[in-house]
Amino acid sequence: MTTGAPEPLLALTNVNTFYGQAQVHFDLSITVGRGHIVCLLGGNASGKSTTMKIILGLVKPRSGEVTFDGASLIGLTTPQIVRRGIASVPEARRLFADMSVRENILMGAFVRNDREAIARDLDKMLTLFPKLGQRLSQRAGSLSGGEQQMVAMARALMSRPRMIVMDEPTMGLSPLYVDRVLELIRTINQEGVSVFMVEQNASLALEIAHEAYVLQTGKIVLSGSARTLKDDPRVRDAYLGGSEAA
């Protein structure tokens, strides 16, 4: 199931996850190559978001291995994992609604202590997300969904991560913002940050991804390069038809 990258940055190997009695993942194996964008596709209740939670240490797998840059993440707490260089853009953004936009972005740099570099990075975020410049002192909860997504991405980048995991980054956004977000993901990736994203919108995700996996009720049923999957009739039938009609 390797996707061609010589040494993966992130690897999930034979992960089995349970919620109480119910099994969520069945021998799940996924790798994310260095500098790649990897996309996990799947419908509702396929176990996509749980995969994110496994990587971030929010849910513990019953068995299996998760490694990042060759070192195991199993048993580490979420803050420890974040310090290893994984940042996240959670589902539905999850901003700190009562804190200002500036405070939200700076919270992303929580694991860093280099004040001057943090200040420089904040300026950099404002060139990457120019709209946020006028919003800095506004309550984050008062922004529109698209603007909140920008803040969430800026916040994730502030930790100078080696990888960002994103849970449905385009969910609930207007078409204009969807394109903008995908463009930004590409830009982020070109600066050397690997991206692992979970998406329901397969056609959009396959536009920008290098590789993709298709998850169905906890099992990987398809995987490969984004280009081949895009033309795969099974993916087209299951995911692309619906989302293109929408």
Partner: protein, 607 residues
């Protein structure tokens, strides 16, 4: 000499003291969605540490304050680390109950160390008063104001400018997201508990100095006042807690000015109930929503109840029924009579808290209503005792349900706070409504139990009487729960929104549960009144409410047999082991803590 300005100054000073408690509660609620019922115990610890420092170590005032803050913070850290952190992944009711258990343990430890007698806590400040406008102000007032204002400033700077402060704010808005930013939530919890405890401890010290008296009853009062102030300001809202506290202080002070001292607490709890009913998110909740209480049944530990075969129950009932015929001592019968009375209360609470999920912390009020009704009817109107007890049950059912009904729209923690407040209100009304209840003097000379004209005085007949009543109530309740009503109750507990979507009227079912529960508790109180022959406003206190809750959790929430088993165990075991009375509350607290930690579903399991 007492002018309105004096009452205003007094209100603001007392409000400042409440604020020190309430701010800690708000911080903790913000980060862990937990109402820390042990906050008052830390305040108590602070007062006694202060006493040790002032009276025995003769430390100067600034050092005393620092000493108290540091020791209290340590206690807070210990509570967080050993009492609450192990419960992190537990059901949501667990930490709430744990803080109640911790408060019992701390209060009792203080009482056992220092004796329950009040002590003087001198303020070490010169006793002069300055004329300000039409009122006066003393150095202690200024000290309290100074400590209040500087604590608020320090807290503001901490939350605004320190990294840990940012982490606290982020974690209180979205715990998971904060973790994903690298925030160590355990450290945040530690910081918050340490700060809350330091503030609470200093508050206890200042109050002790203000009234120049400390005693162990301070603890519960402080928790209640802090909770009132916090909820009035909006749970988890730190500036709101300060404003809520000052408001509470003023309301109390003006209330005392108009109506007299014994009304002080009545105003506090009325304010709470009004705010809970009209603005459950607090007075300042315009921009922010109060954190949602859980939607599904995570509040109570789910489990598979232990099945007890019918024949075993029959045998048990038969054994207990013929027990008085066997050569058992008067003492055993007496103990079991207490267990049956507590069992009735537990039946009531297990229905309300367990089956329909409204965790009541004021259940003793139902006992009091039943007891007073039955006692007064038989004493002043010469109603036969049997009828009077039934009337007590009915009155408890009616009045209890009416009193709680404005809070039917509340959930989870808020129900507990509301019932706690209503319980206090009932006790305060009894204290103040002298023309009917005889106020603080209480009611004495209540006629003994009797049935059809025959007095039940010897312990055997009292035993049979209370046992029979309890068994009948238990059978009725079991019958009720096996009908569709039981299913509807549990549906409301597990997901009230879904239950409503299926057409269940929440108010009607909650009323039914409280009517039935109120009746059982009222009957228990009525029997107790005739058994004790003397009752007053403190006979049925919050401690009994908590004891009943411990019994219910011990037996398994919602479990009818469990309620009775729990009552027998909790009343009986201390007798068996001959545990001295002053250690009992300590034991109850420890039992509650151990249960919550190791068997939250109770002995027989929740149903």
């Amino acid at each position: 000499m007492s002018s309105w300005l004096d009452y205003t100054i007094n209100g603001l000073i007392v409000g400042n003291v409440y604020a020190l408690v309430a701010v800690g509660l708000a911080l903790i609620f913000g980060v862990s969605r937990l109402i820390n019922f042990a906050q008052g115990s830390i305040y108590l610890v602070g007062a006694y540490i202060g006493w040790v420092a002032v009276v025995q170590l003769h430390t100067p005032l600034p050092l005393t304050i620092i000493f108290v803050a540091v020791v209290a913070a340590l206690v807070g850290l210990i509570i967080e680390r050993f009492g609450l952190r192990p419960l992190q992944n537990s059901v949501r009711i667990a930490p709430l109950l744990a803080t109640i258990g911790i408060s019992f343990v701390l209060d009792q430890l203080v009482m056992l160390t220092f004796s329950p007698n009040p002590r003087a806590l001198p303020s070490q400040l010169p006793d002069v008063r300055f004329q300000v406008g039409g009122g006066t102000i003393g150095p202690l007032d200024l000290l309290i104001a100074g400590v209040g204002i500087s604590s608020a400033l320090l807290l503001f700077v901490f939350l605004r400018y320190s990294k840990l402060g940012w982490a606290v704010r982020a974690a209180s808005q979205d715990r998971d997201a904060a973790m994903q930013m690298g925030v160590d939530v355990n450290r945040v919890n530690q910081a918050v508990f340490g700060i809350a405890a330091a503030l609470g401890g200093v508050s206890g010290l200042l109050v002790g100095m203000y009234y120049n008296q400390i005693d162990t009853a301070m603890s519960l009062q402080a928790t209640l006042k802090g909770v009132v102030a916090e909820v009035v300001g909006g749970a988890g809202n730190v500036p709101g807690a300060v404003v809520g506290s000052l408001l509470l202080g003023l309301v109390e002070s003006y209330g005392v000015a108009v109506f007299g001292t014994s009304y002080r607490n009545l105003f506090a709890f009325l304010l709470l109930v009004v705010v809970l009913v009209l603005r459950p998110n607090g007075l300042f909740a315009s921009a922010r929503q109060a954190p949602p209480e859980p939607l599904t049944g995570t509040f109570i530990a789910p489990s598979r109840p232990v099945r007890i075969p019918r024949w075993a129950l029959l045998v048990a009932v038969a054994v207990f029924a013929i027990l008085p015929l066997l050569p058992v001592s008067f003492y055993v019968l007496q103990t079991l009579i207490n267990a049956w009375l507590l069992g009735m209360l537990a039946l009531s609470l297990t229905l309300v808290a367990g089956t329909i999920g409204q965790v009541s912390l004021g259940h003793a009020a139902l006992l009091a209503i039943g007891a007073y009704t039955s006692a007064l009817l038989s004493l002043t109107l010469s109603v036969p005792v049997g009828l009077a007890i039934i009337a007590g049950g009915l009155m408890s059912a009616a009045l209890g349900t009416i009193l709680i009904s404005p809070s039917f729209r509340l959930r989870g923690h808020y129900v507990s706070i509301a019932t706690l407040a209503i319980g206090e209100i009932v006790s305060l009304v009894i204290l103040n409504w002298e023309s009917v209840t005889r106020g603080p003097i209480g009611i004495s000379g209540i006629p003994p139990l009797s049935l059809f004209g025959y007095d039940l005085i010897d312990p055997k007949s009292v035993y049979w009487f209370s046992f029979t009543v309890m068994v009948v109530l238990a059978l009725l309740q079991a019958r009720l729960l096996s009908s569709h009503l039981g299913r509807s109750f549990r549906a409301i507990r597990d997901d009230d929104i879904a239950a409503r979507a299926y057409g269940l009227s929440l108010n009607r079912y909650k009323s039914l549960a409280f009517i039935f529960g109120g009746f059982a508790a009222g009957v228990s109180g009525g029997i107790a009144a005739h058994l004790y022959s003397y009752i007053n406003h403190e006979t049925f206190n919050t401690q009994q409410s908590i004891l009943a809750l411990t019994v219910v959790i011990l037996g398994g929430l919602g479990n009818v047999v469990g309620a009775v088993v729990g009552a027998v165990a909790l009343v009986g075991l201390p007798e068996v082991f001959r545990i001295a009375a002053e250690y009992r509350i300590l034991i109850y607290g420890i039992v509650l803590l151990l249960l919550v930690r190791f068997r939250p579903q109770g002995l027989l399991g929740t149903i």
